[in-house]
């Protein structure tokens, strides 16, 4: 079986519209959670979210013109794709490279744009005008757009399993490379803020009026976010041949169903323990080898407690000394884009030997007995890390990343 190396990363978040800005601000303990300007937040429990500064997005010349009526989610994905390909230093020159698989996690897609039509339609009836805003409603639209702009002809998959969508997308793409189905695959995910998710989490009382505080005793819920990550995942032999500089190797992926509840986590941690163990089994490594966990860490009371319970079942007493941090206090919960963005952060952690902190964390919670890397980043050189995502509906996924040999 081949090794699947991450050789290119593109990252768009509220901390910055590119990988290096996002990483630098993340290590500094900054947060991108601020009052949003995208739509009116009157009547919601919070006015905060991690909104991307669209003006800072860097799209190559001509890309935007290729995709009229493109959504914000698509533009995030395109910017991340451009950065990832440039970072990998592997151009798409046609031929076999055009057959690279493209596997993305898809969520709201063009819903933010379509909501304007829905509002008109509900208020004014069938005479309300609107067509262009509906073009990117299907959840695979950003995937189609990335495939269209890059001219890709390989398998094109869109995983839509809520918050684990792009985690699973990375896992599937890496498996295609490991299985020898492709030398290179492009994977990740994108999601954009919209009124639906803002109202939905608001109605569930799952949002904190302040910025999210993962693993903190005072946590009251999540902060929504948006962004995209695109990873270039490459057969290690190809990467070595061309002298590529890898970030990390995708060692395995575990995917399970909780079969418990649509929105509530299974509180004992047993369900998510199965996911972690499935990932470790797929990677062929033991729990003792894991040296850092990039947690799902949404900052809801139930998620963080159940997640820590799962890790306690897997890591036992070692958990108290194991760095387990969440980036959701910094970049918000980016839903279907979250797993890909967090996989990107986990890969950067492996490559650069720095553990990102949990922004917003200040007071320990006995229900979350982990080392959340408080304050600012900490030096560390984890050889094996986990990136966890636990989604609505119990669609759970964990990636195992490791240092490239």
């Amino acid at each position: 079986m081949a090794e699947a190396w991450i050789t290119g990363i593109g990252l768009v978040s509220a901390l910055g519209a590119d990988r290096e800005t996002t990483w630098r601000e993340l290590l500094a303990g900054s947060t991108g959670i601020r009052p949003i300007t995208l739509f009116d937040t009157d009547g919601f429990r919070t006015r905060l979210a991690a909104q991307v500064d669209e003006a800072a997005l860097a799209l190559p010349d001509g890309w935007a013109a290729t995709v009229p009526h493109s959504s914000r989610a698509t533009r995030f994905a395109l910017a991340a794709a451009a950065e990832a390909l440039a970072d990998a230093g592997t151009a798409l020159d046609g031929g076999r490279e055009q057959a690279w698989p493209l596997v993305l996690g898809g969520g709201a897609a063009g819903l933010f744009e379509a909501e304007a039509f829905v509002a008109r339609r509900l208020r004014h009836g069938p005479r309300a005008r609107g067509v262009g805003e509906l073009v990117e409603v299907p959840q695979d639209s950003p995937t189609d757009r990335v495939g269209q702009v890059l001219g890709l002809c390989g398998p094109r998959l869109t995983v839509t399993t809520a918050c684990s969508s792009s985690t699973i997308a990375v896992g599937i793409a890496a498996e295609m490379v490991r299985d020898g189905e492709a030398e290179v695959a492009i994977a990740g995910g994108t999601d954009a803020l919209c009124r639906l998710t803002f109202a939905g989490f608001n109605s569930l009382r799952a949002v904190d009026a302040e910025a999210a505080k993962p693993f903190d005793r005072r946590r009251k819920g999540l902060s929504l976010g948006e962004g995209a990550a695109i990873l270039v995942i490459e057969d290690a032999r190809r990467a070595q041949r061309r002298g590529a500089r890898p970030y990390a190797s995708v060692l395995g992926c575990g995917v399970t169903g909780d079969a418990f509840h649509m929105t509530q986590p299974e509180p004992s941690g047993a369900a998510w323990e199965r996911t972690v163990r499935a990932a470790l089994a797929d990677a062929g490594i033991g729990a003792a080898e894991v040296e850092y966990v990039n947690a799902h860490g949404t900052a809801t009371e139930q998620n963080d407690a159940a997640e820590c319970a799962a890790y306690a079942r897997v890591f036992g007493e070692r958990l108290a000394r194991l760095p387990v941090s969440s980036v959701k206090g910094a970049i918000g919960h980016c839903l279907c884009g979250a797993g890909g963005m967090e996989a990107a952060v986990a890969a950067l952690t492996v490559a650069r030997g720095m553990l990102p902190p949990t922004a917003g964390f200040a007071e320990a919670d006995p229900a979350c007995p982990v080392d959340p890397v408080p304050g600012a980043a900490r030096a560390g050189a984890p050889a094996v890390v986990l990136s966890s995502s636990f989604a609505f509906g119990g669609n759970s996924a964990v990636l195992v990343l490791g240092r490239c040999a």
Binding site: G43, F44, V67, A99, L102, A114, V118, A119, R121, L122, R123, G125, P126, G130, V131, L134, E136, V137, P138, Q139, D140, S141, T143, D144, R145, G147, Q148, L152, C153, P155, R156, L157, T158, V159, T160, T161, I168, I172, E175, R195, L196, F198, A199, G200, F201, S203, L204, V255, T256, G257, D258, A259, F260, M262, T263, A278, F392, G393, G394, N395
Partner: protein
């Protein structure tokens, strides 16, 4: 493929009715015609092949049914039918049974209800019970919760080919031993706003204009590596490819559809000449018809397998891919010989109607945006 994957059982809810028997009866009647029509609150009906008389009675307790949205109910009923022949308890540990679903529009109706509150009332009035059903993975997740299935739970959004993708990925999960059995499925709900969106984009049939009839329903194929006592068919291969195109258009060139078919046949280790039933996509779209009319003569050369086009009458959608796979399974298992006339664009190219039970069926499709998936189902 080096290892066999078997279709153990199937279940379906479609415009033909609830249950595979209703689907078989419709397929066996050459003159069976749909009676589509999805009501809108303030405008004429739209061309959607909804599921007439659908009910969860005898399958779900009323209190359980009430907390599910329509797409989840449709899938629950189809899965109930597929699971019944496998025995109770199932012959596998429940956390080794997965779900791979494809959907085009699951979650739309609850989405409209949440947005109705936001736009016409206040955000605080958004119904919290509806929001979890707005995620497209809700039907597959609800199915796992209902049946306590703890294996991999995946949902794919790939418009018209979402369920064919789910079938292929179910195969991948079985070959990688992530599960011992997987329910591969497709599900779509009939929702007026969703249908109106496609009508506005000019994709639906209208008086004087050809176009799609949208589908509502759910179909489930239960897959495992073991044959069991009476397997219906083998999932012999799958393939996929894409052609760059905007999300709302079919590509003009058939390259992706051809590549997907060739990969699927290669994986199944059969030649195009061995295919004796093509379950094509033909959904009323002239652009798709042109694509198929170019692709299939190129794929098959002088060979002309029988062809059937269920989506012409049962409607198009992610669920249509799963229904087409069920039709293929029913055909290769000898349960029914599809009697519907071939679509005109393939009949004109010499593709006949089915005259004898097939051994090998090819089910293929391409989505707006250019992603194509094909699967091969053969006699067990």
């Amino acid at each position: 493929m080096t290892e066999a994957i078997f279709v153990r059982s199937v279940g379906a809810v479609s415009h033909a009715g609830t249950g595979v028997a209703a689907l078989r009866a419709a397929l066996a009647a050459p003159d069976w015609r749909p009676a589509p029509g999805l009501a809108r609150p303030d405008a004429p009906p739209l061309p959607v092949a909804v599921c007439p008389g659908f009910s969860t009675k005898d399958v779900l307790p009323p209190l359980v049914s009430r907390r599910l949205d329509r797409a989840a109910r449709l899938l629950a009923v189809a899965a109930h039918e597929a699971l019944a022949p496998l025995g109770k308890p199932l012959p596998w540990a429940l956390d080794r049974v997965g779900v791979c679903a494809g959907t085009w529009n699951a979650g739309t109706s609850p989405l409209v209800e949440v947005l109705r509150a936001v736009f016409l009332a206040t955000p605080e009035e958004a119904p919290p019970a509806q929001f979890p059903s707005t995620v497209a993975n809700a039907p597959a997740s609800q199915l796992a919760i209902l049946q306590q299935l703890g294996g991999p739970n995946l949902t794919f959004a790939e418009k018209q080919v979402g369920a064919l993708r789910a079938l292929a990925e179910a195969g991948r999960n079985l070959l990688h031993r992530r599960a011992d059995a997987v329910l591969a499925c497709g599900v779509d709900e009939g929702d007026w706003l969703n249908a109106e969106g496609y009508a506005r984009l000019g994709a639906l049939a209208a008086p004087g204009r050809p176009g799609m009839l949208l589908a509502e329903g759910a179909a489930v194929l239960a897959l495992s590596r073991e044959a069991g006592a009476a397997p219906l068919a083998r999932l012999a291969g799958w393939g996929s490819a894409s052609t760059p195109a905007p999300p709302y258009l079919y590509p003009r060139q058939p390259a992706a559809l051809l590549a997907a078919c060739r990969q699927a046949l290669e994986r199944a280790r059969v030649t195009p000449a061995a295919v004796d039933l093509l379950v094509c996509q033909a959904n009323g779209s002239p652009e798709l018809a042109a694509l198929e009319a170019t692709a299939y003569p190129c794929l098959f050369g002088a060979h002309r397998p029988a062809v059937t086009a269920p989506a012409e009458r049962l409607g198009e959608g992610a669920v249509a891919g799963a229904l087409r796979a069920v039709v293929a399974v029913l055909a290769v298992s000898g349960a029914v010989l599809p009697s519907w006339a071939p679509p005109s664009h393939l009949a004109a190219a010499g593709f006949p109607a089915a005259a004898a039970p097939p051994r090998v069926a090819l089910v293929a499709g391409i989505a707006g945006g250019g992603s194509a998936v094909a699967v091969v189902l053969s006699r067990a």
